[in-house]
Amino acid sequence: MPGGVGGEHGQSQQPGELVELPAPLTPPVEIALDELEFVYAYIFARVGNRADAEDLTQQVALKAIPRLRSGAGPAAIRSYLFATARSALATFWSARFGLPVEELRMDVSVESRQHEPTSESVERVDRILSQLPANYRKLLELRFLRGYSLKEVAAELGTTLGGIKVMQLRALRAAARVGSND
């Protein structure tokens, strides 16, 4: 190539001659990032916070690298990413509570890509809430779904801050019992 532009480092450039730049993203990375968006949503729906969801998603991405290098297709990448995500979630909860995975009842089923990964999760939450006593349901809806502070929830339900904390614990335990049978 005249002047040596367009490729190797350290070669001279001719004024006015354009260089070929690489594409911003190459297809395997694009595929992995698209799938990791789904993985992130899947994980977020189960840990409920961005910090842990990002940590776990990056773990999944790290694990996936050898598969990407092997030139696996989109279906294989997707399958591997979600299997890795399930494993990462199991390890996450197991490490937090110091319990073996088998003792933790976890919903780690994988929704297909054709469906919104969180829609099933939202439906499940609605189903669980609908089976709770009205006061528990209202507390959890205000606190978790509508963003009320505990003080605001206490005011809304006409009780004290200390009382609402205990009620929150009881409501979560009740929801967990319902969820374990769901």
């Binding site: 190797e8 480092h9 919903d107 904390k165 929150q168 374990s180």
Partner: protein
């Protein structure tokens, strides 16, 4: 009737809930094991509150760098590396991980300095604030909007209640950039170079590093967005 022990548990669980709802790490420990069901349910409920959660642009960029080049040492922590099975000591993560990732898609390139970001601003006698006809409400968060202020072409990008403006022209060759919604980048059609919507940083390099997109002055005047142009 509430017992002191239940009150203590309720306090403890509420601290965990507060962290999760604030987007912070879930800080449960083995001492919380008896309430693991309640804590996992709290996480479930918190995880359903935002509809369809998406990665933040910053996190997506970090993942992109990891997958593309292995530029990970500053954000890969020891726990992630170990859980991922890389078996790396924290201090060795940078080099070892880079080696692991090198050749994934591109041959690794030596780090080179990127020129500093400039500002695009007309000379004083010519410069004037130009009403774009837009208000903040006309902009979707993180979605660039192309505007013209005389000789200045810019993209406005809203970040919450703030708005940033950057040049609409590639810093490599003066081609007009286009926003690619599927990648959320500003793309140069001449050489396929991509710039970050967030900060105008080039997201891919050719043989020569190129500067980030220059900033353009923008302000809100009586609710309308004005760009300093000609």
């Amino acid at each position: 009737m509430t017992e002191p022990r239940e009150e203590r548990n309720a306090e403890r669980i509420d601290r965990i809930v507060g962290d999760v709802l604030a987007g912070r790490h879930l800080k449960a420990t083995p001492s919380d094991a008896s309430d693991h069901g309640a804590i996992q349910m709290a996480a479930r409920l918190a995880g359903s509150r935002d509809g369809y959660p998406r990665m933040s642009p910053a996190f997506r960029r970090r993942l992109t760098r990891l997958l593309q080049k292995g530029e990970a040492p500053e954000w890969i922590n020891r726990r992630s590396a170990l859980v991922a099975g890389l078996g790396l000591a924290a201090g060795a993560v940078g080099g070892a991980l880079a080696t692991e990732l090198a050749g994934l898609l591109h041959p690794a390139r030596p780090e080179r300095g990127t020129p500093e970001r400039g500002r695009m601003e007309p000379r004083a006698p010519l410069g004037r604030w130009v009403d774009t006809g837009l208000t903040l409400a006309d902009l979707d968060d993180g979605v660039p909007r192309r505007v013209t202020a005389g000789a200045i072409g810019a993209f406005l990008v809203r970040h919450g209640e703030q708005v940033a403006a950057m040049s609409a022209y590639c810093t490599h060759v003066p081609c007009e950039l286009a926003w690619l919604a599927d990648r959320n980048v500003l793309n140069c059609p001449c050489h396929n170079l991509a710039f970050s919507v967030e900060d105008g940083r080039p997201m891919s390099h050719g043989p020569q590093p190129v500067p980030a997109l220059p900033t353009v002055k923008v302000r809100v005047q009586e609710g309308r967005l004005e760009v300093f142009g000609t």
